[in-house]
Subunit: 414 residues, 2 copies
C-alpha cells in the first residue's frame, strides 16, 4: 500500500472517533490546539524562518515572503482563531428537516461530517491551523497539503496540533500533513472512496489542476471577476463610493471588483466624476471605446480585460445600453462570484437579482461583503464558486453532509 493510501486509511479510521465526539470534546481539543500553538510559538517561528530564508534565496517576491512569514503575533492570531471556533455552534446533529410519515415512521434529515476532507492550498501557513480547526469542529478528519515553500512551517504546526488533539482524547490522525512530491498529490486527488471531498484554496491554476485531475469530488473556491453595474436610476454619489470601496479597499482579494458597467444614460455624468476619482486612487481603467472617449488615461480594453481577475489596481469598464445589456455582459464574463447593481429602482434591482446567476448578487453595497466573517458565519473555509453542494462563503454547516434517520416500530412496505 502506498504511503498516501495508508495516510487516507488512517484518516478514515480516525474519522469514526471524531464523528462520534461530542461538541464538548471537540471544543476542548480546539482549546488544547490553541494553547499548544502559543506554547510552541518559538518552535514554529524557528521552523518558519527556514522557509523564509529558502524563499528569499529562491528570489521569491517580498510580498509573497510576507504572506509566508510568521512571528509570535501571527501564531497568536492562529490560536485565537481556534478559540473562536470553539465558541461556534456544532453543525453535526442539526436536524435539517423532520416529520412523521403517514405510516408512523419518524423521518429526520440530520447533519453528519463528510468523513475525510483534503485541503490543497498555497503559501500562508496560517491556513494549516484554520483548516484543521474548521475540519475538527465539523467532525472531519483532514489531510493538509500546503505549499512546498511552507513545508517546514506546516510540518511543525501539524506536529503541534496532533499532540494537542491526543491530549484532548482524540486520535492524532484526525489531522495529518500530506508529504511527498506531485505524484503524491495526484494520488490524493485519485483517492475516491477514501477521501470524501477535496477543497483547493489558491490561484486559478491550482484550482484548475485539482478540478481536472481529481476523481474525488471537489469544491471549487475563490476565483472572482466581480462586477459593479451602475444603473440608469443609480444615486451616482452612492455608486462612486461603492465602486471605490469595491475596487480599492483590498484589491488583492477575490471579492474586490474587477469590472465596471455603466448604463449609457448616466455614463457621461458618472464617468466624469468616477474616472478622475479612480485615477486619484491609483486605479488603471481598461475601457471600451465609449469609456476611452470619456477619460484621458483610459487604456483600451481587450476581451481578456473584461474576463480578467486582476487582483491589482486595474479595472475593466464598459458602457451598456440597458440593464439587459449589463446582464448579458455579466453572463459572458463573470466568474459567478459577486456582482452588484447600484440603483434606486425596485424593478431594476428585482430583475438584476433574478437574472444574474452568481454566488452573491448585491444591491447598493460593496462587493467586498462576500465573506464568511461578514455574513456572520464565524469561520470560513473558502468561497465556493460552484453550484453543487455549497455556493458562496462556506462556514461549518457547508463542511457537512446529511443522512436520513428513519425510526419505526415494524413498518414494512406493501
Amino acid at each position: 500500500m502506498s504511503e498516501i493510501i495508508e495516510l487516507c486509511r488512517r484518516a478514515r479510521e480516525a474519522s469514526y472517533a471524531l464523528a462520534a465526539a461530542s461538541r464538548a470534546t471537540k471544543d476542548a481539543a480546539l482549546h488544547a490546539m490553541a494553547a499548544a500553538l502559543r506554547a510552541n510559538a518559538d518552535r514554529i517561528v524557528t521552523a518558519n524562518a527556514h522557509d523564509v530564508t529558502a524563499a528569499r534565496e529562491a528570489g521569491t517576491p517580498e510580498s509573497t515572503v510576507d504572506r509566508l512569514a510568521l512571528d509570535r503575533g501571527r501564531v497568536d492570531a492562529m490560536a485565537a482563531g481556534l478559540e473562536q471556533l470553539a465558541g461556534l455552534v456544532d453543525p453535526v446533529g442539526e436536524v435539517v428537516r423532520g416529520y412523521t410519515l403517514p405510516n408512523g415512521l419518524e423521518l429526520r434529515q440530520v447533519r453528519v461530517p463528510f468523513g475525510v476532507v483534503g485541503i490543497i492550498y498555497e503559501a500562508r501557513p496560517n491556513v494549516t491551523a484554520d483548516a484543521a480547526g474548521i475540519c475538527l469542529k465539523s467532525g472531519n478528519a483532514v489531510l493538509l497539503r500546503g505549499s512546498s515553500s511552507a513545508a517546514s512551517s506546516n510540518a511543525e504546526i501539524v506536529a503541534v496540533l496532533r499532540d494537542a488533539v491526543v491530549e484532548a482524547g482524540l486520535p492524532a490522525d484526525v489531522i495529518q500533513g500530506v508529504p511527498g512530491d506531485r505524484a503524491a498529490v495526484k494520488e490524493l486527488m485519485q483517492a475516491r472512496g477514501l477521501v470524501d471531498v477535496l477543497i483547493p484554496r489558491g490561484g486559478a491554476g491550482l484550482i484548475r489542476t485539482v478540478v481536472s485531475e481529481s476523481t474525488v469530488p471537489v469544491i471549487e473556491t475563490g476565483v472572482g471577476n466581480c462586477h459593479v453595474y451602475v444603473d440608469a436610476d443609480a444615486d451616482l454619489d452612492l455608486a462612486l463610493t461603492i465602486l471605490l470601496n469595491s475596487k480599492t479597499q483590498r484589491p488583492s482579494v477575490c471579492n474586490a471588483a474587477e469590472s465596471l458597467l455603466v448604463h449609457a444614460t448616466v455614463a457621461d455624468e458618472f464617468l466624469a466624476a468616477a474616472l478622475p476619482a479612480l485615477a486619484d486612487a491609483g486605479v488603471t481603467v481598461h475601457g471600451d471605446d465609449k469609456v476611452v472617449a470619456l477619460g484621458k488615461d483610459v487604456v483600451p480594453a481587450t476581451d481578456e480585460d473584461h474576463a480578467a481577475e486582476y487582483n491589482s489596481l486595474d479595472l475593466s469598464a464598459a458602457v451598456v445600453d440597458s440593464l439587459d445589456g449589463a446582464v448579458e455582459h455579466i453572463r459572458k464574463y463573470s466568474s459567478g462570484h459577486t456582482d452588484a447593481i447600484i440603483t434606486r429602482s425596485q424593478a431594476a434591482s428585482r430583475r438584476f437579482v433574478q437574472a444574474v446567476d452568481s454566488a452573491a448578487v448585491v444591491v447598493n453595497a460593496s462587493t467586498r461583503f462576500t465573506d464568511g466573517g461578514e455574513y456572520g458565519f464565524g469561520a470560513e473555509i473558502g468561497i465556493s464558486t460552484q453550484k453543487l453542494h455549497a455556493r458562496g462563503p462556506m462556514g461549518l454547516p457547508e463542511m457537512t453532509s446529511t443522512k436520513y434517520v428513519v425510526i419505526g416500530e415494524g413498518q414494512i412496505r406493501t
Copy 2:
C-alpha cells in the same frame, strides 16, 4: 462548434427564460406536456414498437423488453406523473436562511435552478418524461441521453414535450435529446461550464463510467447493498417480518436488502426460523461458516457475496459478535445506501444510527422505504449515494443550487 456544444449552448440560453418563469407558467407547461403525451399516445406507442421489435431481434431478455415497452396505459401514467409535479411546491425562490447583518445589510440565501442538467439513463423510456418534468419544475433546462435501445421512443417523447412547452410560452430548448454515438456522450461529460450537473441513472457500470470520465460535476445515484442487522435485543418476529419485506417485496430495486447480519446471542434462534422462511420465499442465502452450520440450503459466502448488490432473490448473511462487529462489517461492505437495525434497545439504536454512515439509517423498519415517494417528496430524480450536495432520495429542492442576495443602502467595508 460541435453538435453537442451547440446543444449545450442552446440549453444554457433557454435556461435563462425558464429560471425567470413563474410557478404558474411552469405548471401550465407541465399540464400541456401531460395533455400532449395523452393526445400523441398512438404516435409514441408506434415509435416504441420499433424499439421493442429491434430489441427482440437482438435477443434482448424478455424482462428487459418489458421495461422498454410502452402501451397507452404506461403513456397515461407518464402524463399523470407530470400532472402530479404541477401540484408540488416550486423550490425556486425558497429562502433557505435570511437575516439582517449588524451593518444593516439584508442577507438572504435563496434557492435557484442549477441551469443546465444532463441526465444519462438506461432502458425505461418513462424516465424521459419524468426527468423532463422534474427539471422543468425545478427551473432547469435538461439534456436527456437515454439508452440507444429506446432511441425511437425517446425521440418521439422529446418531440411531443418540446411542442408542448412552446405552447406554454417557454423555449423548446429547455428539453433536448442528446443524439449521436459514445463520442457525443463523452463530449457531454466534458462540457464543464456549459452543463452544471450530470446525473447518471442506471447500473453500476454506467455510473462508474460517468464518474470517471466527467469533468462536469456528477451526482451518483442508486447502487444499494443494503443491510438488515438483527441485534441481540431484537424482537425476533418483528425482525423476520422486516427481513422478508426488505429482501423479497421487490428484489430488483436498490433499496432491497442484500445482506443480513445477526448478533451471535440470537443467531441460533433467529436463523432457525429465518432460514426456512427465506427458503420458502425462494431466497438463496450465501452465509458465513456460522450461518452455513445452521441451515441445510445455505451456500458458503465469498467476500464478493458480502459486497454484492444482487438485485435478485439472493442474500448474503453473517453472524457478528457485537453491535460494533455489525458496524465494522457494514463499514467494510455497505454501499452507503440504506442500512437497518432491528432492536428494542435505545442504546443500541442510538449507537447504530451514529456509527453507520449511510444515506439512510433505519431502526425497526424495512429498508424498502428509502424512496422519494415514501419520504413524501412527491417526485424523485434518483437516490444519491454520495455525500456532496444531496444524499438519499432527491426531490425538487435537491435539483437546485442557492445564491446569496444582499440588499443594502450604500454599505461599504472599512
